[in-house]
Every structure is written in structure tokens, then in C-alpha cells.
Symmetry: C2
Subunit: 484 residues, 2 copies
């Protein structure tokens, strides 16, 4: 009796890769196809992955062998650039000063950033209602030519009743940043109801209180959404010492071309890089080389927008990632470290599609997906919010992502027999230790070192400093509390 997901047929023309899995030949896929009534799209990959992922060094191959010449086209054919060209800025700023104003929160501004550089191409601004409904119900947008692009997360701007009234009959508004600065014009606006309950339920699959993005950006937001086309007055900068890492999709594409990459594999993360991650990334590169690519380049792409309070903050993560490159755990020659400016939803299978789609726009053709991507603990029940396998299953079947090769993450753990991180081998499971975030934190707190080979020393030192700084804040908070 099969208790796992049904495998299904591969779709002709879909290039498909399994990290560390078997060659998926046309004959084997059609044999399987006859057994299953429906196409779980690239689900077969997971079937093969499960079957072979414990094998020591299985062959690794594209179903359609010839490697393509790098850089996928952006969704919709060209990258959106919603930043007003410098010569036009004075006139646009003058216009913006005359328009009714809508204030932006920090998260709204991050979305303006995302939209302005074309990460959500071909979306040109905050969603109008038909776009919103398509994202909410179908996870895609249909273009004029009938083709579809993936779009799983509503990118919307909320306003309240008073703000709505203040707009009068204006067809454009100006958007004002958290510091009072004019950021953008939103044109051909459309205002529609913000049904928060429905938005949350359909995006997160729950409306339990305590979802971080929901509490931060939705619960107290207005009851209307305002969509329109963006004209951003100048590139969004944060002046936090990290702006040089914030490469736009266009800049990333130029960088990949400069490096003569013939394949780009993207790794989304919001945690420190340990040697297990590094093993996965170097192993992926090795396998891409074996497949015939000459210069596969890694896009190491930490998420830089809003994250929940117990995630390691961006500037600590960037320090840690720098050390990983500095100490040669990842090869700086073949790694591009950059920040992905999106805020984090923690919406599991729905959000992982957004993470993958945005990387298509940056030119990636391979996307590494782990266990429970964009997942978290259920906010009110003692369980994972999402089934840990659903993220990669949904991603492999998602509309508009057919061009992207999905690389399922192989589980790495600390192998005591080798004193190093290694791919987990269930046949000798007692040799492995899983080191969780909580374990890491406790090591750092107690001044202990993790096992040798878990993380490069410089990277670990950064974390020790971070956790020390936290402890400092905590004890300060306690002291203040006592003083009161």
C-alpha cells in the first residue's frame, strides 16, 4: 500500500533534474505514467529522489541532455523597471508633490523595492483586483497572449476608509515612505475591498492568530486595497551598509554574464550557512559540471526584507555569509552573494513559488528547494504549519514554473564517523546528529563550540557575537524591569 505521494508522468519539454537521484529516462517515466491517472507534474522526481537519495553517488542527469545556454528569460519576456529615469525625475517629483498621499509602512516599501526592480515581472505595480483574485485562487496571472506566469502571493497595498476618501477622483496617488519622503507615483489606480480573512485563509491555509506577516502587515491594515502601476522616483536604498549587496535582477544578470555562467543555481535562505548547506551547494555545482555545464554559478540569495523576530537579523547573517566565502567554504569565484529584497510571508507551499519565480527573473535556471520551505511551527498548535513535503511537491507542479529546474534538497547532518557534515545515510543513522537552531543557540549562549566541521570558525564566531548581543539585550531588559 502506497502511503506516499503518487508519482506521475513527466511533461514533454520539461527539463527536470533530481539532486543526487537517478537518470529519469523517457521510458521509465512513461512506464510510470501508465500506472497513475494524473500528472503530478514533476512529482516523479520526488519518487526517484526518495528511492535513490540514500545511495552513495548516483548518476545525475537532465532528462533532455543538452545543457542550455544560461539565464532564463524573465517572466513576460522583459524585466520590469519601474524606476523613473534620472532626466524625468524633476518633473515626476513635482507631480508627486501635487497628488494625494498614501503612507507606506516598512513592509510596503520593501514591496515597492521588489516591484520597482522587476522581481515580480511582469507585474508593474500593486495588484488590481483581477490580478489579486488570480493570485489568490490560481497562483498565476494570465498575460495578453494567453500564457501564464506564476504569482502565488498577493502583492497589495492596503489603505483605510479615511485615506480612501481623501483620494477624491484622482487617478494617481503618491506614495510616501516611513521617513516622510516621496517614494513613488501609483497610476491608473483601482480600489477594491480588502477581505482580510479570505486573503489570509487562502494564502496561509489557516487564520490562526500569530502568523508573523499577518500580525505585522495585515491585521491592522486598512479595509481597502489600492492597485495601480508604479513609477518609483529613485532606486530604493536602506543606507544600512548593505545596499551594495542589493543587486537588482538586471544587475545580477549582468554579473552572471560577466562571469560567463552557463547555468545559475539559486539558493534562498534566511538562516546562517552551515557546512551542510555548503556541501549541498558545492555538490550541486559538481553535478552540474558532470552534466556538461562549463561554469555553473551559485546565487547565494538570503532574504533581506521583513523576517520574524526570532530569525537572525540580516546584518548578522550577511557577516556570517561573508565569513563563509572568506574562509573558502564556498568558492567566491563561482558564488554571487546578494540580497533578495522581499519580505517573508512564512506561507510555505504558497510562498516557495514566489521565491522560485522571483529567481527566474534574476536569471536562475535551477532552484534548490529544501524540506518545509518557507514553513514554520503552527502558531497555536504543536505541529508544523505545513506538511514538510508539500512545499517541494507544490513547487514541482506550480503553474508558470515549468521552465525552472527544481533541485530537491538532500538532507545533510553532522556525521560523527567523519567529523563533518554529510548527506544523511539512513542505513547508519546512529552516526548522524541533527543540529537545530535551538541547539546552535544554546551552544553559543553557553560559550560552547559546535562539533568540529559543523560551521567554519569565522562564521561561528559571528553567531557567538550575535547571541551574546542578544543576551546583553535580554539582561538589559531584565535589569530595566528590575529597576522599575
Amino acid at each position: 500500500m502506497a502511503t506516499t505521494a503518487a508519482a506521475a508522468a513527466l511533461i514533454p519539454g520539461w527539463a527536470a533534474v533530481v539532486a543526487g537521484a537517478a537518470i529519469v529516462s523517457t521510458s521509465s517515466s512513461s512506464q510510470l505514467a501508465s500506472r497513475f491517472s494524473f500528472c503530478g507534474a514533476r512529482q516523479i522526481l520526488h519518487h526517484w529522489h526518495r528511492k535513490y537519495s540514500a545511495m552513495p553517488s548516483p548518476p545525475f542527469s537532465l532528462r533532455s541532455p543538452p545543457p542550455r545556454a544560461a539565464l532564463l528569460e524573465p517572466d513576460g519576456g522583459s524585466l520590469v523597471n519601474a524606476i523613473v529615469p534620472p532626466p524625468d525625475r524633476p518633473a515626476r517629483i513635482a507631480e508627486a508633490q501635487r497628488l494625494p498621499r498614501i503612507p507606506l509602512s516598512r513592509i510596503d516599501l520593501e514591496w515597492v523595492h521588489v516591484l520597482s526592480e522587476g522581481w515580480a515581472s511582469p507585474l508593474r505595480g500593486f495588484m488590481r483586483q483581477t490580478e489579486y483574485l488570480q493570485a489568490l485562487h490560481f497562483n498565476f496571472l494570465r498575460l495578453h497572449d494567453g500564457s501564464i506566469v506564476n504569482m502565488s502571493v498577493p502583492i497589495v497595498l492596503a489603505i483605510d476608509d479615511l485615506q480612501k476618501e481623501s483620494l477624491g477622483h484622482s487617478s494617481a496617488v503618491s506614495l510616501v515612505g516611513p521617513n516622510g519622503n516621496l517614494v513613488a507615483i501609483l497610476r491608473d489606480i483601482e480600489i477594491y475591498k480588502h477581505n482580510k480573512e479570505e486573503r489570509i485563509a487562502r494564502t496561509w491555509g489557516t487564520i490562526a492568530p500569530g502568523l508573523p506577516y499577518v500580525e505585522e502587515a495585515i491585521v491592522h491594515a486598512g479595509n481597502w486595497l489600492i492597485g495601480g502601476d508604479l513609477e518609483v522616483l529613485e532606486p530604493i536604498k536602506y543606507n544600512d551598509g548593505l545596499d551594495h549587496y542589493r543587486l537588482s535582477p538586471a544587475e545580477l544578470r549582468m554579473e552572471f554574464q560577466r562571469r560567463k555562467a552557463d547555468a545559475v543555481f539559486a539558493f534562498q535562505l534566511r538562516n546562517p550557512v552551515h557546512n551542510g548547506h555548503a556541501l549541498l551547494m558545492t555538490d550541486t555545482r559538481k553535478r552540474l559540471l558532470e552534466m556538461g555545464f562549463k561554469n555553473p554559478v551559485l546565487l547565494l540569495h538570503p532574504l533581506g526584507g521583513y523576517t520574524k523576530v526570532d530569525d537572525v537579523p540580516l546584518h548578522w547573517r550577511m557577516k556570517q555569509h561573508d565569513k563563509v566565502l572568506e574562509e573558502g567554504v564556498l568558492d567566491p569565484q563561482t558564488t554571487v552573494l546578494a540580497i533578495f529584497p522581499s519580505p517573508m510571508h512564512y506561507a510555505g507551499p504558497t510562498e516557495v513559488q514566489w521565491h522560485a519565480k522571483a529567481r527566474i527573473n534574476a536569471g536562475a535556471d535551477f532552484y534548490i528547494v529544501g524540506r518545509d520551505p518557507a514553513g514554520m511551527a503552527h502558531p497555536t498548535e504543536k505541529r508544523d504549519l505545513y506538511d514538510p513535503d508539500h512545499g517541494k511537491m507544490v513547487l514541482s507542479m506550480a503553474p508558470g514554473l515549468e521552465r525552472l529546474n527544481i533541485l530537491p534538497f538532500r538532507v545533510a547532518a553532522y556525521d560523527k564517523s567523519q567529523n563533518a557534515m554529510a548527506f544523511f545515510d539512513p542505513s547508519r543513522s546512529d552516526d548522524f546528529i541533527f543540529i537545530s537552531g535551538t541547539k546552535m543557540r544554546n551552544f553559543a549562549k553557553n560559550g560552547e563550540n559546535p562539533p568540529d566541521g559543523f560551521m567554519c570558525p569565522g562564521g561561528w564566531q559571528v553567531l557567538v557575537e550575535y547571541y551574546k548581543s542578544l543576551a546583553g539585550e535580554e539582561s538589559k531588559a531584565t535589569k530595566e524591569h528590575i529597576m522599575v
Copy 2:
């Protein structure tokens, strides 16, 4: 400032009709396309509809003029028939008797009925996990050839822990009806987790308590779902005197062919037919004739499965529909009255897609959609659960329904100036009365008649009897209560 949904471009090759709206020419749609960044698919129709629906007798036309020769192909190319042929039954029954058994609720049995006759073609049985995830996240299923079919509602069978354990390693189970009779074999089974919260949130856009289908079929259901291919031992019958109305999609297709229909327009309903509905249906036929069709046939298709307790029960509705045909309000020559065996979800924009998709499988090429289809009041808040416009908007953009012509419902109300139901004309809104279900019920309860011309006398008489029978039950219930 536009506060309504953005219109957008028509997709080449999509036939499109607007009930009572203007000719949508290629030139006008491309003009609009340039104004809007995204394609809300057939959304433009609603834009035109709104603009023109108040006009007295606007032109009515297909964008691509030549009327097609009737009967759309079933989804997936052929109708599923999961009923075991009579010669094979003894062997299958013998096999079923030896298999582990899973009990079916009344609603489960309705789904077996739906699946067995191919209403959900090409789905051959209860969903496996990849099908379930596609339905839940994308509202479609992808077939082996890469094409997609609409599938917005999970059609699943729940089992509990004990039942799961009882299955051992069997790859097939037998399904047992509410009366203990063997109904079907489910083969190549797959068992996966039933995350009720996520299923409810993504299907209904809320998890508020009091959703009728949820309370009836999900809350107390097991924590596992079992998918597989169905072999139904004999056609499902209810022996309630209405089985002759339960035509399968294959039988409906034969009936349409027998009548030489060159267009079939479907009207889904779960309420009595008043003269406003009748006006809409006869008007639609008139317009289809004007378009060049020679014999458009109406499929009057009341839903026959589970409905909530305050809906008029099926046998009363069928009596009422019979009278409507008997008294010539609808023409029996050009109307096929049949029962759609699906249970009702009350899941608004998600469910209306299922209602439309199932009618494609029965051969319909036009589908009439009303305000707030499959909607209801929010179970815990004082508002509609869904935005009344979302149903037709989502339907018009839904994946896999591109072949179906969506006919937006024109609002009819009682016109005091004519003593008849008429299309609502906002320029003389004081002439119109809207007669709600509650109003109707109060008329019947108090022995009053509704205004002349609201409903044919025979049909009204059926409702009076129904409401009387209710009052009888209510007073009986009260008496019993007093006696206790």
C-alpha cells in the same frame, strides 16, 4: 478613479458572450488591453456588461461570429465511466467481498455517484495527494500531455486511524454504502494526511464555524484521506422516485443529440424557479437564436446532492420545476430538466468553477452565472461570505474553463408597472420589488399570494404545500417539546 475591477484583454481563441451586452470587437478589446497591464481574461466582458446591462435591448454577439456545432468535448477527451460492465459484476462483487471495507457517508456516496458517471472527468476516483494539492492550490489538474482541466473542489474520501490500520498492506479496498451494501472497489490506493484546517481555509477562504458542508462532512471526518481509482459495482440509485431525472453526462449528451441541439446552455440552481429565472432563460435562448444557432437547448439542472437544512428539499424543488414546464413558463421542447448529483459546498468562487466544469462534461457550451454563485451569508459575521461579484470574475478567469462561454446573469425583479418579472432597469428603480426567499416564505406561511406574474400558479402551489408541511413539522416539534 476606477473603483471597480480592471477590465483586461480578451484572449485570442476564447469565444465570449455577454448576456445582453455589446459586441466586443477585437479592436475595442485591444484598445482596452493597452490600458491595463494584465489580462483578467474574460473580465472585459463584465466591464461591458456593467456598462450596457441597463440598456433596453443591446446587440448581442459572439466575438468570433461563427456558432460552433454543439456539445463541447469532455475534459480530457473522453467521459470517465467507472461503472463495472454487467458481465464483469459477479467477479468484482466476489473480489469486493474479500477486501478490507471502508464505510461511505451519504455525501461520500454522492461523490461516488459523481465520479462514476464522469462529471469530474478525467478524474477516475477519489483524489490522490498530487491531485488534491493541485485542486487546493491551483484549482486545476495537469494531464499527461501538459494540458490542464479545471478542478477547484477537492473530491476526497476521509478515513480515521482505525480504518487506516485495518487496511494492512492491501492495495485495494471496498466501499460500503450507508445501508451496508457493497458499492465500489477503490484500487491503487494512496493514503495521506487530512489537514482539515488547511483544506477548509483554502477551499472556503475562512475557517469560521458553521459552514454547512464543513460541519456535515469534514469536522467529524477522519484524519487521513484515501485516494484511488474507482470501480463502481452498479449504477448509483436512490429509489426516491427521482432517479429518472438523474441523467448521466453520457445520457444528457445523447438527449441533446436526439433533440438536435446546436447549442446547450446550462442553468445551475438549488432554489424554486420564479418568472425572473424563466425570463432570463427564455431571453438567453432568443439571443442565441439571433446569433445564428438553430436549436439552443436549455439544461435546467438543479443540484441534487447534499444541501443545507434551510434550502428547499430536492423533491419539492423537482415538483415545482415540473409545474413550471407543465404550465409552459419554460418550453418543454427546448428544455431538458435533470438532476446534477453533486453535493453542495457553498464555497462561492471556488465552487462555481466545479459547477461549470461538470456541465462541460455534460456537453454544455454556455453557462449562466448569477450574482454570488454558491454563496451564502457568513456563518458568524453579518455580511455575505463572498464578494457577490467574485464568483463570475473568478469563473471568467479560471484555468481549464476557457472553452466554456460564460453568460453573466442579468438581475430580474418584479416590475410593478407591468405586473411581471422584468430585467431590472436602474433608471426607474422605484418600479421594481425584489422578492427574497424570506419574503416568499412569509407569503406562503401567511397564506398570501405573491404579486401576479411572480411565479406560475402551479409552481407557487407546490411551495405553499412545502411551507405548510414545514409549519406542520414545526408545530409538531413544538408540541413534542411541550409534552416533554
